[in-house]
């Protein structure tokens, strides 16, 4: 007669108590599995959105890593076309997007509003990034050299302009003088972060180069990799090939640039970690009470088992096995609950509130995340073993004579 079989029978013997404790474990497990799936889905969505915005890798001038520019394109990459060709030659690279980042004033003739400008190559930008999907009015940029500009909805509102209106862009050139070019608003975009919507302006890299009086110099090259590529290996290869070609560059990974992603991730981990800890404490306390009751009720039985030759470790094992069997049965029930609840939630179309700093909520989507199920099982089995340990140890140390006379 194995400890497992005996454990199972004792659990079946106490149906009501087992059902109650099993429900606590099942609820705990389902919470783990669902929260894990939700977090995984959130992280995955956030990661994908972040990468589609800032790329997997960014090629910048080495000085730009540790220092801030004091003038426009002070640490720009010269001969960007050649560097772009070299980078695009790597078999793992899907796209290389040149970007010029600058600041300036946009005016409608009557009112001037500061903006955060982005010079882009529209065609690859529209293909590789979310740029086109962010357009909420008009259309995205169509050429690198045209006069088209797209504005964040907040900036357009501040300027009082709509698609088709003309505006003037002013900025400081590389040598410090003030320059201006005219542009036509081709579209309005919602970049989903309110503060950025109020300042966002994008234009073709040709128009921006004319404004900044520069040529072939960009702030960075944004690199998108093919699916399944090893970021670290590609980064190493690009650094070697570009350095060998005379470019004093540094490669930055998306994770070190995605401050928002890291902050949201930390926030989620903190919140769900706390909730998970509360769950574990609830399960531990419930299980400890249940196991203590089981030991008390079966004291005479423990005495009998010890009298007929069961070692103290055998008693300990018997109660730990009960905890583990209860945990596994509870997890099985919890997994079924989690799968059903997941299906209901995903079909519900409930829109979650926007994450910190964002303007749009997302429909709830709980992923089936096997690691969360494995973590849930580990947490519940571990918790039940911890909760069973002290009552089980007490049971194994009971005086046989006292146990046999227990009423």
């Amino acid at each position: 007669m194995s400890s497992w079989s005996l454990a199972w029978r004792n659990l079946v013997r106490q149906k009501r108590r087992t059902l109650l404790m099993g429900s606590v474990v099942a609820f705990g497990f389902a919470a783990f599995a669902l929260a894990g799936g939700f977090i995984a889905q959130s992280f995955e969505g956030l990661k994908e959105g972040t990468i589609r915005s800032i790329g997997h890798l960014q090629i910048v001038d080495r000085r730009a890593v540790t220092r801030s520019e004091e003038s426009t394109l002070e640490f720009g990459l010269p001969n960007a076309g050649r560097a772009r060709s070299i980078a695009a030659g790597d078999p793992a690279v899907a796209a290389v997007l040149p970007r010029i980042e600058f600041v300036g004033l946009a005016t409608n003739g009557a009112k001037s509003v500061p903006y955060l400008g982005l010079g882009v190559d529209p065609q690859p930008e529209a293909t590789a990034t979310l740029a086109r999907e962010l357009v909420v009015g008009g259309r995205y940029l169509s050429s690198a050299d045209g006069e088209e500009v797209v504005l964040g909805t907040g900036l357009a509102s501040a300027l009082g302009v709509k698609t088709g209106d003309r505006i003037t862009l002013m900025a400081t050139t590389r040598d410090g003088s003030l320059n201006a070019v005219d542009g036509v608003v081709s579209g309005l975009v919602d970049v989903r972060i309110k503060e950025l919507n109020d300042r966002y302006l994008a234009a073709g890299i040709g128009l921006v180069s004319r404004l900044l009086e520069t040529s072939e110099t960009v702030s960075k090259l944004v690199v998108f990799l093919r699916k399944g590529s090893d970021e670290n290996r590609v980064a190493k290869r690009l650094e070697q090939s570009l350095t060998a070609a005379g470019f004093p560059i540094a490669i930055r990974h998306w994770e070190e640039l995605a401050v928002f992603y890291s902050q949201v991730k930390l926030l989620y981990i903190g919140i769900f970690g706390f909730v998970g800890a509360v769950l574990v404490v609830i399960v531990i306390l419930s299980a400890a009470i249940v196991m203590t009751m089981a030991v008390t009720e079966r004291t005479r039985e423990i005495g009998t088992l010890r009298a007929i030759g069961t070692r103290p470790a055998g008693i300990l094992k018997m109660f730990l096995a009960e905890g583990a069997v209860l945990a596994l049965a509870g997890c099985l029930a919890g997994a079924l609950v989690a799968l059903v609840v997941r299906a209901i939630l995903n079909a519900s179309g409930i829109i979650l509130p926007p994450p910190p700093g964002a303007t749009h909520g997302m429909p709830i989507n709980v992923k089936f995340y096997p690691l969360a199920y494995v973590a849930g099982i580990s947490a519940m089995v571990g918790t039940m073993l911890v909760a069973s340990w002290f009552p089980a140890r007490r049971a194994s140390r009971i005086s046989i004579v006292e146990a046999l006379t227990h009423v």
Partner: protein
């Protein structure tokens, strides 16, 4: 006290045991010396509180004396680890209790087989052994029945079969007839004596049931924790 000529299976030498009852220390056994040999059928009798069960617990290694020593086949029990004592109880002793003390979630067969499994034997061996013993106590047809569906007498038969599962040298029985009606008690006692004789097992009873005393071949009388008399009976009441 009379000493036996045979090699003692068990010996208690100057054994004392006290219990704390609130602030008071109550002596249960005082300076008891006793030897138990093979194939004995001993009744330890005495009034309530005379120390019968305490002495049985000490001899069965369920408890340890405050003073004196208990030896099992020459081994000083004080030198044995908790595991070693468990193993000795499993392999050399059997226990029959007043309230039967069967494991409620196990069938009759599994209750009998449990100590065999504890000794590391495989399922085939423990099943065969359990069925053989259940047949011997007349309960083969109840092998798959749980204890709560058995009568008191049947439960005690299962308990006897369990006590004999690992072919012990000694079976300790604490008031085994106290919860049985007169007829069943007679049957159980006769069964125990028969099993003891057939299987060369010593039976040690703690009892104040005259039917047990009448069947005993040796009667140890306790009074206030001391042995008052230790008498060998030449012609005990024969088995039915």
């Amino acid at each position: 006290m009379q000493s036996t000529n045979r090699t003692p299976l068990l010996s208690a030498r100057s054994v004392s045991k006290s219990y704390r009852l609130g602030e008071a220390i109550v002596p249960a056994i005082r300076d008891v010396t006793l030897e138990i040999g093979p194939e004995e059928f001993i009744a330890i009798q005495g009034p309530s509180g005379s120390g019968k069960t305490t002495l049985l617990n000490l001899l069965g290694l369920l408890d340890m004396p405050d003073a004196g020593e208990v030896r099992v086949e020459g081994q000083d029990s004080a030198r044995l680890s908790e595991n070693a004592k468990s193993d000795l109880r499993r392999d050399r002793f059997g226990f029959v209790f007043q309230t039967f003390n069967l494991i409620p979630v196990l069938s009759a067969e599994e209750n009998v087989a449990y100590p065999v499994g504890l000794a590391g034997k495989g399922p085939a061996e423990w099943r065969a052994r359990a069925l053989e013993l259940l047949s011997a106590v007349g309960l083969a047809e109840k092998a798959g029945v749980r204890p709560d569906l058995l009568s008191g007498g049947q439960r005690q038969r299962v308990a006897i079969a369990r006590a004999l599962a690992n072919r012990p040298a000694v079976v300790f029985a604490d008031e085994p007839t106290a919860n049985l009606d007169s007829k069943t008690a007679d049957e159980i006692l006769d069964l125990m004596r028969k099993m003891g004789e057939e299987r060369e097992v010593s039976f040690v009873f703690a009892t104040h049931d005259p039917r047990v005393v009448a069947r005993a071949r040796r009667v140890v009388s306790l009074q206030d924790g001391r042995i008052e008399s230790d008498t060998r009976v030449m012609t005990p009441t024969p088995s039915r």
